[in-house]
Amino acid sequence: MALHKVLGTETEYGIVVRGDPGFNPAVASSLVVNSYPGERVKVQWSYEEESPGRDARGFGHDTYGLIDPEGAVVNSVLSNGARLYVDHAHPEYSGPETFDPLEAALYDKAGEVVMHRAAVAASEAAGRQVSLYKNNSDGKGNSYGAHENYLLSRETPFGDVIRYAMSFMVTRQVFTGAGKIGKENDRPDVDYQITQRADFFEEEVGLETTLKRPIINTRDEPHGDPSRYRRLHVIIGDANLSEYQNFLKLGSTALMLAALEDGAIPDPLDLADPVEACWQVSHDLALGRPLELDGGGTATALELQERYLEWLSKYAEKELDDPVWDQVIAEWERTLTLLSTDPDKLGDTLDWVAKKRLIEGYVARDDLQWGNNKLRALDLQYHDIDPNRGLYNRMAQRGSMRRLFTDEEIVDAVSTPPARTRAYFRGRCVSEYSGSLVAANWDSLVFDIGESHLKRVPMMEPLRGDAALVGALLDEAEDAADLLRLLEG
């Protein structure tokens, strides 16, 4: 039986300081993170357990022992268990570890509220408007990531992940894209494409995340017991504003990886050239382009996705009890059916379709060309997380986008941790023992309880530290020292 798919997202936001085109993005990002007014603890992020240079294929070594000190300064852990920090030139929100794709999509959405509150406070502090964008490209050849993380068993050979997940990652783009005007990175010209990121993928497999981006990233940094776990760090995805789309992206991928671990994918459906197929799928708005298969013949991205859906429906029915997987399958089926019959009907579900319909509306009404700056501005503004200026947000407010969560649920997830993973323990410690918490990592917390040594609490099991295990202890403890005594007892 596959390991439970604990999962989560991490998103780098685009940043603009109005009226100051020469702003320093690292400084502005630090201001945003430091200004966040919500419940959090500014901590030293302990990097000794992190090793982004370690390669899952086994031949890597730790080349990143020295992390950019600029990034290490501005770091905080929030009471929902998330991490809010500066990653080079962008503010980044890494959501807490969650139990299922619904929860993962909810906490990703909560990240938008966190970032908006931080931007409002930063604007006040700076005396200038600071705007944040949940997208992945500036349209000028610079991309920034929206990554997904899925827990895998260490026993799963990484070669199997590479072999079986490659075509899935390339073809899922038909429903993961956030849409973009034009091409980048020397790809062929196009008016509009399905994804923000596809043009930037240049390798099938690799360790890099900032250049020569690979479809399968081999970063081997489990954030848990390395003898038991892997974490698949998925970098080929777009940041989604649509709640249903994010749920579908996370749910279908988690399901695919569970089936992969259980040996339930009968055929890797190898593409002849996955890197070329990557942009070909993204540029194909008609969704009919035949992709060459490794064993000869061709298939469209939709046809390959239909194969995965068929296999994974059977797998879920046989192996998984939780009704969340029925919801994933139903949404996936609905999406693929509409993509093959009437994609415009997904204008309330998929970011790329919603934005395309807006742009087409302007093209028709104002007789504009696709490369027009007004349309490029609109492309960017779709992703502005400000509730008034952001075009996605305006559409959601008027009921033009299907919603999976209420505003109240999202706001609640800003301050309350998910209950079924170790993020629960982290989040509650931030709420209740902020004065004693001095350092944190995904798999540990370090307390200063006034003794000669700091006390480190290891959290190497992603599912331990949930409400069922530590809720009562946290309720009972009077202070951090008391909590540590109870944990030891």
Binding site: E12, D138, N142, I235, N373, R376, L378, L380, Q381
Partner: protein
């Protein structure tokens, strides 16, 4: 073709044309909604699109 078959065919045609009419109404409603949406968006769109697009530069991402 028997009367009954003819009746069924006509019935289907009627359904088809009703469906088409419904779809036409929906499409019209969609377009109205899109027009309203564009009007609303006009109010919040960046005033100087050219400068905004020019200044939107995001280096140093993953």
């Amino acid at each position: 073709m028997s009367d009954r078959e003819r009746g069924q065919t006509e019935g289907r045609r009627k359904e088809d044309s009703e469906e088409q009419a419904t779809e036409a109404v929906e499409t019209e409603a969609d377009l109205d909604a899109l027009d309203d949406l564009l009007d609303e968006i006009d109010e919040v769109l960046e005033e100087n699109a050219e400068e905004f697009v020019k200044n939107y530069v995001q280096k140093g991402g993953q």
